[in-house]
């Protein structure tokens, strides 16, 4: 693996106590490097696109449409989509609408625990620009300041059909190798982290949750 300047230094983990710093890794995340042979990378992307596993974390209103999506009527399993209870097994994080500050902390934590390649779909108008909570003191207004978004779905709330459409589009993008959100996060890691820490005042977790 090629070493980028950022992999040489380590993370501060300043939010943790001295005791806890010994327990958590302070290594920086590294970007994903595609296979050198294009055919293999294309094959890998094809496989990824057809086994999108969604993290079961309903973060807001829009997640109520995930239940019809996953059950008999809309049945997203047809497209290789399955719900997963743990971030370690998931590849897609669906941000279900507005994100309060308290949830943002958990989203960051869950997202970083997911194994790459990983993708974020943001539902509804709230993650895009605050939506109808644009003046609320507890919801963020631009989700992509804090985590990279691969696909937005409009609506308040988006219908299950729109979600199916989003999944198909995400599959196309993955097959074309265009979904580089996770790499963007790592390349601009310090900027994203600074934005997160600006909003999350009581930062008491490691800087990167391995």
């Amino acid at each position: 693996m090629k070493k980028t300047p950022s992999t040489l230094s380590t993370l501060e983990n300043a939010g943790l106590s001295a005791e806890d710093q010994l327990l958590f890794s302070n290594a920086r995340p590294r970007p994903y490097e595609p296979y050198p042979i294009k055919a293999i990378e294309d094959f890998a992307n094809w496989a990824r696109a057809n086994s999108l596993w969604i993290l079961a974390f309903g973060t807001g209103c829009c997640s109520i449409e995930l239940r019809p999506l996953m059950t008999a009527r809309f049945d997203a399993s047809r497209f290789g989509v399955a719900g997963r209870p743990t971030p370690r097994q998931s590849s897609v994080f669906i941000i279900g609408g507005y994100v309060s500050v308290k949830t943002l902390k958990r989203i960051v934590r869950s997202y970083e625990q997911m194994q790459g390649p990983k993708f974020i779909i943001a539902l509804g108008s709230c993650p895009a620009n605050g939506g109808m909570y644009f003046d609320s003191y507890n919801t963020i207004n631009q989700f992509d300041l804090y985590l990279p978004v691969d696909l937005y779905v409009t609506g308040c709330m988006p219908r299950p059909e729109a979600l199916l459409g989003a999944i198909l589009e995400l599959q196309d993008d993955i097959k074309a190798g265009k979904c580089d959100g996770a790499n963007r996060y790592i390349e601009h890691f310090d900027e994203y982290k600074a934005n997160q820490k600006k909003v999350i005042k009581d930062w008491n977790m490691p800087d990167y949750n391995w």
């Binding site: 079961a56 309903g58 973060t59 807001g60 239940r67 059950t71 109808m132 609320s136």
Partner: protein, 389 residues
């Protein structure tokens, strides 16, 4: 904690002493917010001795949007698009109560046809919400087939909502002074057909889920709410009725057209998770029955909106009120204070989950097996967004 019966004798509300986690005997475990076995986005902080829970703390606030503050920033008619977002699976009760609170203060009377349509909307909402709950309760005890069935039928109800109001989830149908539209052509026929199908579905669910040995073994005796606990813990709705109280706001303090409908208050006695689940199944059937009655009784013509002042300049007179309605979880209420301006002074939303998910859950969880905590949580039927608003 000991239970003392009697009216004036309170329960012991002292908080338990914290246990010594460093002793190695206990394990602290977080269930949620990222966890499939939790209702919505909230979390339980559990302390375990073996696999028995000895302490439970509910943490909420993951969905806090500050609705009550936002409503103080917007005019009355702007708020009507905001309120439905307070309880996501059951927006209609918020719409109705917000409209009812304004009508109580301003003295606007909604016409009879609007009242029938509102009742229809609320009962359809109750049906949709109960169907989703049945799926959740089945899922919590490992019966995903039931979840697939009932959520599909909930979707058919949502289709009818879409015909009636134009939207699947957030209808924004009940405006102050009436409703936004009448029923589309042929709606009655389609809803009656769906009600017949739903009856069959509920029979199947009863056979598959409620007679299932595993479900019975796990739900019976789980999370018993005794009669003495109901008042001090503020337990309302099906949770209280399953413990033997015949309390239903639709009967006790009738609103809309419930005094013209024929139904009985259903109650149980055991107060455990199975009794609550069975009672909710019966109430789902009752809701189907009520929808049939409303369809039969609703006038097909006449105005569905009262004459209203210019809503852009509407100043509601100064006043104060508390209105309530029986939602699927019990008493849902809106407390509203106005000061004669175009903007509301204060709205407080009283959701039944506020007591069920925090004070009651923390009490019932103690002594429960860790594997049953998801089933217990669902059997209290809590929706986090109405706790923190």
């Amino acid at each position: 904690m000991t239970l003392v019966t009697g009216h004036s004798a309170a329960l012991d509300f002292a908080q338990p002493d914290p246990v010594d986690l460093s002793s190695g005997k206990y394990v602290k475990l977080w269930q949620g917010p990222q966890h499939p076995g939790i209702t919505g986005n909230m979390s339980l902080e559990l302390v375990l001795d073996g696999d028995t829970i000895i302490e439970c703390k509910t943490h909420v606030g993951y969905l806090h949007r500050g609705f009550e503050k936002l409503m103080e920033q917007r005019t009355f008619i702007q708020n009507f698009t905001v309120v439905c977002r307070i309880a996501v699976p059951e927006p209609a009760f918020n719409e109705y109560l917000y409209a009812a609170a304004i009508e109580a203060i301003s003295g606007v009377q909604s016409p009879p046809r609007a009242q029938w349509l509102r009742t229809l909307n609320l009962e359809m909402m109750r049906l949709a919400s109960f169907l989703m709950w049945i799926g959740g309760q089945g899922g919590a005890f490992g019966q995903y087939t039931v979840a697939n069935w009932s959520l599909t039928y909930r979707d058919y109800v949502l289709d009818l909502f879409e015909e009636m109001t134009g939207a699947r989830i957030y209808h924004m149908y009940m405006v102050p002074g009436g409703v936004r539209a009448g029923l589309p052509a042929g709606f009655e026929k389609r809803i009656l057909k769906l009600m017949d199908d739903t009856d069959k579905l509920l029979d199947q669910i009863e056979r598959v889920m409620y007679n299932n040995v595993v479900f019975k073994a796990r739900a019976k005796g789980l999370g018993v709410i005794t009669r003495e606990m109901v008042d001090p813990y503020g337990v309302v709705g099906p949770n209280a009725r399953a413990s033997g109280f015949r309390r239903d706001l639709r009967k006790d303090e009738p609103y809309l057209v419930y005094d013209q409908l024929d139904f009985n208050v259903i109650s149980g006695s055991a107060g455990d998770a199975y009794e609550r689940a069975y009672l909710r199944l019966q109430e789902t059937r009752q809701s189907v029955n009520l929808i049939r009655q409303v369809i039969a009784g609703a006038p097909s013509d006449g105005p569905f909106q009262a004459d209203m002042p210019n809503l852009l300049h509407w100043k509601v007179p100064a006043g104060e009120t508390y209105v309530k309605a029986e939602c699927t979880r019990g008493e849902y209420g809106y407390y509203m204070v106005t000061d004669g301006t175009e903007i509301v002074r204060r709205v407080h939303v009283r959701g039944p989950s506020y007591t069920h998910a925090i004070a009651l859950m923390e009490r019932l969880a103690v002594g429960t097996n860790i594997a049953d905590i998801a089933g217990l949580m669902v059997s209290l039927h809590t929706y986090p967004p109405e706790i923190e608003r």
